[in-house]
């Protein structure tokens, strides 16, 4: 998953005020941990030094999960040389996609300090709607829009009940989880012969291609280059505007460094995707479409959370709902909207999931999918208590969950082992998070 646009740095952007000296040195020292590194740094060396200091003081950001991901990957590679093969890595991308998008759905509500336990079954019910419509002969995009409208409406309903009746989201969505697992059976039965035997096949080439199709190698390169160029341009323009406006901006070298990191990530993903993963007779090369879908959703949602009023208010409510209310934020409306987006994203997940399976059945484990999604977001660094987290967390955490499942399968270990290992990683992630935060508190 590369060429991801840098998630717009949420509120914790850039800058310092060199011109405003004064105040006790004690205040200045106390102020440092919260400060962004790019600011005070005049050069790359200094940047790295400040970065290190911040990590020690508990502002580790995405670092623990990235290190964790690398460690897990190395372990699997040592155990099985097939792990880092192109074929398996592309498999990994397709396997992790629905956990990542469902994790993004959860991020919307986790940021508010809420949770959606029903998201897995919202996704499954959405998938039934989509698959039923395409089986009935509707165009794929009609099916997709209808699904997203239905799951979004369901999310809005949950949000409405939670905010208006002031019920805990845990209970409301637990009821949703139970209710929708029943609704799923009802829906599949209601499709009659289409859902014969509790399984609906996905009768749309376009939707099947999300997980089962790929771009040509040339297209993979072109798309990635365009995305990286756009991301780089936006990053550059933003820093430039800060400089022009007379605000403290990161040195040009750091802007370029960031762009280089994005470019390298993009190139690596394309190289993996474009390596032949087929057989002698039939070469298979190119990036799976689902990678683009996930990156597209990530960029849109990151922008929504990081650069719009809605996003700002979601963070504000998660941080201090009373403060947001007093500042004139329509907190109930924002909450309902967040639950609606959670539902819409669950709908997207349902379509990706059914594309991955090629069908949807009454046997979907929607409960476990939802919990895996919450785990993915939390492993990535999103707080269960609200106010802290990013869309990127769902991607990184979803990759961790996906890598564990993929690697253990590759080693021929049972589902039981996979669950236990996922659990251990989750506990480790939360522990690391708690420890770094404690470090921050005492810093």
């Amino acid at each position: 998953m590369a060429s991801t646009n840098p998630p717009p740095e949420p509120p914790g952007g850039v800058t310092t005020e060199h011109d405003e000296e004064g105040g006790s040195s004690k205040d200045a020292a106390a102020a440092l941990p919260g400060a962004s590194a790019e600011l005070i740094a005049g050069s790359v060396g200094e940047y790295v030094r400040i970065w290190g200091k911040r990590i020690r003081s508990g502002e580790s950001g995405a670092l623990p999960v990235i290190i964790g991901l690398i460690v897990i990957i190395l372990i699997f590679q040592v155990k099985s040389s097939l792990f880092l093969s192109a074929g398996n890595l592309v498999n990994l991308m397709t396997q992790a996609a629905f956990i990542i998008t469902l994790g993004m759905a959860e991020v919307f509500v986790l940021l508010l300090g809420e949770i959606d336990l029903a998201a897995g079954f919202t996704a499954a019910c959405g998938a039934v709607i989509a698959l039923y419509l395409v089986a009935k002969g509707y165009p794929w995009w009609v099916a997709v829009l209808a699904t997203l409208a239905a799951t979004g409406a369901y999310g809005a309903l949950q949000g409405f009940i939670i905010t208006r009746l002031r019920l805990p989201s845990f209970v409301v969505t637990l009821a949703g989880f139970l209710g929708l697992s029943g609704v799923l059976l009802v829906l599949i039965n209601a499709t009659g012969s289409i859902g014969n035997g509790g399984v609906i096949r996905l009768e749309s080439n376009v939707l099947n291609d999300i997980e089962g199709g790929w771009l040509s190698p040339a297209a993979s390169w072109i798309v990635t280059i365009v995305l990286v160029a756009l991301a780089g341009l936006m990053l550059y323009m933003r820093d430039r505007r800060r400089r022009v406006s007379g605000l403290v901006a990161p040195p040009l070298s750091i802007t370029l460094l960031k762009i280089a990191v994005i470019a390298i990530a993009g190139v690596v993903v394309v190289l993996v995707g474009n390596t032949n993963r087929g057989t002698f007779l039939l070469a298979v090369r190119g990036l799976p479409w689902v990678v683009l879908v996930v990156i597209g959703v990530l960029v849109i949602y990151s922008t929504l959370l990081g650069r719009t009023r809605f996003g700002r208010y979601v963070y504000a409510i998660g941080g201090n709902a009373e403060a947001a209310r007093r500042a004139g934020v329509a907190t109930n409306r924002i909450r309902v909207l967040a639950f609606t987006l959670c539902g819409v994203t669950a709908g997207i997940t349902g379509i990706i999931y059914s594309s991955y399976l090629g069908s949807i059945s009454s046997g979907v484990n929607g409960g476990q999918n939802a919990l895996n999604a919450v785990a993915a977001a939390v492993i990535g660094g999103t707080s269960l208590f609200g106010g802290r987290g990013k869309m990127m967390d769902a991607l990184l955490g979803g990759l961790v969950v996906g890598v564990i499942a993929n690697g253990l399968q590759l080693l021929g270990l049972s589902a039981a082992t996979q669950l236990i290992w996922t659990a251990l990683v989750l506990v480790a992630a939360v522990t690391v998070d708690a420890l770094t935060r404690r470090g921050r508190a005492t810093a």
Partner: protein
């Protein structure tokens, strides 16, 4: 604690030593921004405030003091529009107003900085200062112009201890947090800033920081109403003092007419027999000076 029971029981406008005429804190110099007229507030059978007349002049710091339960919070919440008064009315800039909710008061130009500050620890200083009033550019947040606005406001208030306005509010010290909360109020073009216990739980340096900030607000022509228990801080910063006792305003006047002892008397018993001169001359507080007795 020399107030005799009958003193405390007297009607508000006669009890206590009244430098400028007790209960008639209406004679103020300069523009009067807000006038409270016979404000009363009861919660069921309990009367929290009654017959409060108070003028709040622009460009001055008015300190509202009183013991626990004296009605300080009720009074500021009434001004801030959280509660509507049961009796009496508010006159804001010469016009009678009726704040039905906090938003009405905010729109009129009254900003309240509550004790809990109402800041989001997970957002940075700029985001907190502009919360609810974000600037947009092509639908997206215009971080650059918001940062410039916030920076300018902090510079105007000479808040210099904050090194980086992009740091999270959660990483700030108590005084800095208070500064951010005040700057947020100022940014909304508040004409009256109400501060609830601004120096509670602050250290010496931080307290000095906040008191300096309060002074600068009044220098900018903003009226400040400070609620505080801490008389040392009150005397450092207040131009005027208003003392509440059991829901009644027992004394209002220039801060210079009071000292700690007389203020404590008023706060605890609703009356005082001490004069500033008597205390200053080292006369014991038990000394009663006849002319300090209020005229019934």
């Amino acid at each position: 604690m020399t107030g005799s029971p009958e003193d405390g029981a007297r009607p508000a406008n006669t009890a206590g030593r009244a430098p400028s005429g007790a209960g008639s804190g209406t004679d103020t110099v300069g523009g009067t921004l807000l006038q409270l007229r016979d404000i009363g507030k009861s919660f069921g059978p309990v009367s929290a405030l009654s017959g409060v007349n108070l003028d709040i002049p622009a460009g001055q710091v008015t300190a509202l003091v009183g013991d626990n339960g004296a009605g300080k919070s009720t009074l500021i919440k009434t001004i801030a529009g959280i509660w509507e008064p049961s009796e009496g009315h508010l006159i804001w800039q010469g016009r009678q107003v009726n704040f039905k909710n906090p938003r009405d008061a905010t729109e009129a130009g009254i900003a309240t900085v509550y004790q809990d500050l109402a800041l989001c620890d997970n957002l940075d200083i700029v985001a907190n200062m502009l919360l609810g009033h974000e600037v947009r550019r092509n639908l997206l947040l215009d971080e650059v112009s918001m940062e410039q606005t916030a920076k300018q406001t902090l510079a105007d208030l000479r808040v210099v201890t904050v090194r980086n306005i992009r740091q999270l509010v959660g990483s700030l010290s108590g005084g800095q947090r208070q500064s951010v909360a005040v700057a947020k109020a100022v940014m909304l073009d508040a004409k009256l800033v109400i501060m609830d216990e601004p120096t509670a739980a602050l250290g010496v340096t931080q307290t000095a920081l906040v008191l300096g900030l309060i002074r600068r607000l009044s220098e900018r022509g903003i009226a400040v109403l400070v609620v505080s228990h801490n008389l040392t801080d009150v005397f450092q910063v207040a131009d005027r003092l208003a003392v509440l006792y059991l829901g009644r305003l027992v004394s209002v006047g220039p801060a210079a007419d009071y000292d700690t002892a007389s203020a404590v008397d008023l706060m605890t018993s609703g009356a005082t027999q001490r004069t500033r001169d008597a205390s200053a001359n080292g006369l014991d507080d038990r000394t009663r000076t006849p002319d300090s007795r209020p005229e019934g």
